[in-house]
């Protein structure tokens, strides 16, 4: 937590944002009422440097650039003098729209845009007012641009006025720039995090050290849902550097003065684990269980028209069952955290996507009030949703509390895979009905899946499908299993876009209708989405592959953005090996493109992760535990498998859309659809491994 004293030490003009019952209010940090914690958002120093405290986690998506840029825009301040620091954890820093401090759901720019513009504009007005007074020049004759106050020929750095500006009242309604006045928004400014990442100097979670710290690893159960029953530690404790070994909530903690000593000690550990419901389950058992659940009655989420009757009366009827596996996030930085529970203070350094949830576990485990807890967010070596789960933070806290020392917990890759929190497994039954011309009249969707977000994620992208389908039925069966599941980049849309977008092409195929035409007609009531599909088809040169043998298209709306991919694909029929040559993609992000290159890189990355999921990824089970142990058995997409990706960005007048996730869901179905049209292959399972594809040929 930043204290009042820290703020005074900073000097300069410091603005806070207070979350009041009536919404956000901007204050000078020095004026924040005593009963509130000061919350620093922005500091302009006397030597003209701007520091922006960002309340979102940087995990590669570019928030340490995109968010400060919005402030710098309204303040009109030189980019090379902008610094960024992670905001602490605490109520003042919650996302105004979510009510918690969480980086997820492709919301950072969408949710922070207005607030950050207001803070930047307020500071600018205060500088102009104070300059006007001190120079004795009317406001109209003053311009504030590029970090300088300009009066005629003369210019003064903003920093010269910070002490006077501090005495100015906060403007109640600062003037925001018109779009045509923008100097940064719409431009690809250099990322602020890139230089230190290239130098190897960026501080990730795993890079934190504390005097006297102890390393810890946690030995985890061989199958989900088990707890340690008996632990034999004598042999392990004989090794040098070993500090202590004891059971914790999730397994057995092995603590030593070095990571390597932890590893050596755990080899000598003997643990007996409790029984579990899924003990002994292999992949086939999961499939049988989900198929059985799919036959049970679930919750009907949506009904439009008369889906059952219209399906039965349809001249073209297609019914398919889809099976999609658990997926592992595979952040390149495994879960890791440094925690120190002292008597009267608790410090946590974590690569966390949720400061609020990190604070909550710290409060629960340390027993200390929020004011005694300090959470420092490091860079995240990948997040993809996984690091919004804070079980790894809780483990570090639990171990530190027991030892009374700072503890650096590191998951090995094997621990990381074993620890679960996967994209959930799903079985989906889809029934579609169309007339003879291939006009889709009925879509009936039923999914059996472990629920996330109270079940909303299960039907994401279907319940709110932008297609005009007169008869729609959406049902979900909630599955409970001890295998932990969690948000995986683009969440429910990962599985639903695949099943729905591939069955759309089955209809087109069966009725000999062009899949682009079919989508355009289904989007007849949604001109924004129509334009996205149309533009993708045009840019890709629909129907005439340039690099591959076949083309496939898929469209999906998620996280507020419309995305359409056209994939060019070739299949080696002898080996079953798929090659994706090129993906042309169009994204409509709504009214504003803040930083085009950040959008491009997020889309490129989403295509890579989407292809990885489409072609390679599957968490496999043996004995109720994860069979994959490391990257040799859980393969990710590699450079030689990466297609050319062409990104086209569109805007439209509607609420802002997100960028981090929406380009992932349409990737797998675009590839599968290319296989349908090019090779007559119907893919109902992922991943499309050569072994699986060969069974379809």
């Amino acid at each position: 937590m930043i204290t009042r004293r820290d703020i005074l030490k900073l000097g300069g003009l410091t603005l806070s944002v207070m979350l009041m019952p009536d919404g956000y209010r901007i204050l000078k940090a020095q004026e924040v009422p005593k009963r509130y914690a000061p919350n620093l958002w922005l500091n302009l120093s006397r030597d003209n440097y701007l520091t922006v405290f960002v309340n979102k986690s940087e995990m590669g998506q570019g928030v340490y650039t995109g968010l400060p840029m919005i402030v710098a825009e309204e303040l009109d301040f030189p980019w090379e003098r902008v610094r960024v620091r992670p905001a602490p954890a605490g109520k003042p820093y919650v996302d105004p729209k979510m009510g918690i401090q969480l980086t997820g759901g492709s919301t950072s720019v969408r949710n922070m845009y207005e607030t950050l513009r207001l803070v930047g504009a307020s500071m600018r007005e205060m500088l102009v007012s104070s300059a006007s007074k001190s120079l004795g020049v009317p406001r109209e004759k003053i311009s504030a641009k590029g970090g300088y106050i300009r009066v005629g020929e003369k210019s003064y750095a903003y920093g010269e006025f910070v002490d006077l500006a501090m005495k100015e009242p906060i403007p109640s309604k600062p003037r925001l720039k018109e779009e045509r006045e923008f100097v940064y928004i719409g431009k690809s400014l250099p990322r602020l995090d890139v230089p230190e990442k290239v130098e190897g100097k960026a501080l990730f979670g795993i890079d934190v050290f504390e005097e006297g710290m102890v390393y810890a690893v946690v030995e985890r159960p061989p199958y989900f849902g088990a707890k340690p029953m008996k632990v034999q530690v004598e042999e392990a404790k004989k090794l040098p550097e070993v500090v202590d070994i004891f059971p914790i909530s999730t397994g057995v903690a092995v603590c030593a003065q070095s990571f390597w000593a932890c590893q050596k000690a755990r080899e000598r550990l003997r643990v007996e684990w409790s029984e579990s419901f899924v003990k002994g389950w292999d992949d086939g058992d999961f499939e049988r269980y989900f198929m059985q659940k799919l036959r049970e009655k679930g919750d009907v989420v949506k009904v439009l028209g008369s889906p059952q009757r219209s399906f039965e009366e349809s001249p073209i009827k297609i019914e398919e069952v889809y099976i999609q596996p658990y997926l592992y996030h595979a952040t390149m930085e495994p879960m890791t955290c440094l925690a120190w529970v002292k008597k009267d203070e608790c410090v946590v350094y974590a690569p966390t996507q949720s400061q609020t949830w990190t604070l909550e576990v710290a409060k629960r485990i340390s027993g200390l009030p929020e004011s005694r807890i300090k959470v420092i967010t490091t860079y995240l070596g990948g997040g993809f949703g996984r690091k919004a789960n804070v079980e790894f933070v809780a483990e570090a806290l639990e171990i530190s509390k027991r030892l009374g020392k700072p503890v650096k917990l590191i998951y090995t890759r094997e621990d990381d895979i074993k620890s679960g929190y996967f994209r959930p497994y799903s079985a989906t039954l889809l029934r579609v009905g169309a007339d003879k011309e291939g006009n889709l009249k009925t879509l009936s969707f039923k999914i059996a899946v472990q629920p996330l977000l109270g079940g909303r994620a299960s039907v994401e992208g279907v319940e709110n499908i932008p297609y005009s389908i007169p008869n729609l039925y959406v049902e979900r069966v909630d599955v409970e299993l001890p295998v932990s599941s969690w948000f995986w980049r683009s969440v429910g849309s990962t599985h639903n876009a695949f099943s729905v977008e591939t069955i759309i092409d089955r209809v087109a195929h069966a009725s000999k209708k062009d899949p682009v035409e079919l989508r355009l007609s289904l989007l007849r009531e949604n001109p924004v989405a129509r334009r996205v599909v149309q533009t993708a088809a045009e840019r890709a040169g629909w129907g005439k592959p340039k690099m591959g043998e076949a083309m496939g298209i898929a469209y999906h709306f998620s996280f507020g953005s419309h995305v359409c991919h056209v994939a060019e694909v070739s299949l080696d029929k002898k080996t079953g090996q798929i090659k994706v040559h090129r993906v042309v993609t169009v994204i409509d992000v709504g009214p504003v493109v803040v930083h085009p290159d950040l959008i491009r890189s997020q889309v490129e990355g989403s295509v890579a992760m989407g292809l990885s999921m489409a072609l390679k990824e599957q968490v496999k089970f043996k004995g109720g535990g994860v069979e994959n142990t490391n990257f040799h058995t859980y393969g990710l997409l590699t450079a030689d498998e990466m297609p050319q990706v062409e990104v086209h960005i569109l805007t439209s007048k509607r609420p802002m859309g997100g960028v981090g996730e929406p380009a992932l869901p349409p990737t797998a179905p675009a590839v599968a659809n290319a296989l349908l049209w090019g090779y007559g292959i119907k893919v109902n399972r992922l991943p499309m491994t050569p072994e699986y594809i060969k069974t379809l040929l």
Partner: protein, 153 residues
Amino acid sequence: MVKEFSLRINGKSYKVRAFEDEPLLWVIRERLRLTGTKFGCGMGVCGACTVLVDRKTTRSCLLPVKDAVGKEITTVEGIPSNHPLKKAWIEHQVPQCGYCQTGQLMEAYALLLENPKPTRQQIVERLSSHLCRCGTYNRIIRAVEAVSRGGKA
């Protein structure tokens, strides 16, 4: 089992106590705190821990520290900031999360030492032994290609 080792890293000498079989990675990053070298998999598959040992790329997670004694070790901290590769990485805005990037950069650095003008195909082949979950592959390749064309490395 815990012994003192003398290592030479980025032209500097270090004395460090470690287990004989302790991988160089953990000695470099945790005991000596040169944290630019990252842990990713511990079995030489992902490439995040790549360093140069006597000018050859080495997965430091697999090399026992005792076998690194007497050799010249180079980590990302040993590549000057104005090196064309580092500049190209910034110019092409390659990193996203950045965690794998130092390993990628070390691989590219070693490739250019062996062959200052690799073709695109050679670059792709060489870097396909490294994983990047953010999917920055095309930018990595573009950055290395730019240096290859520029000729200096």
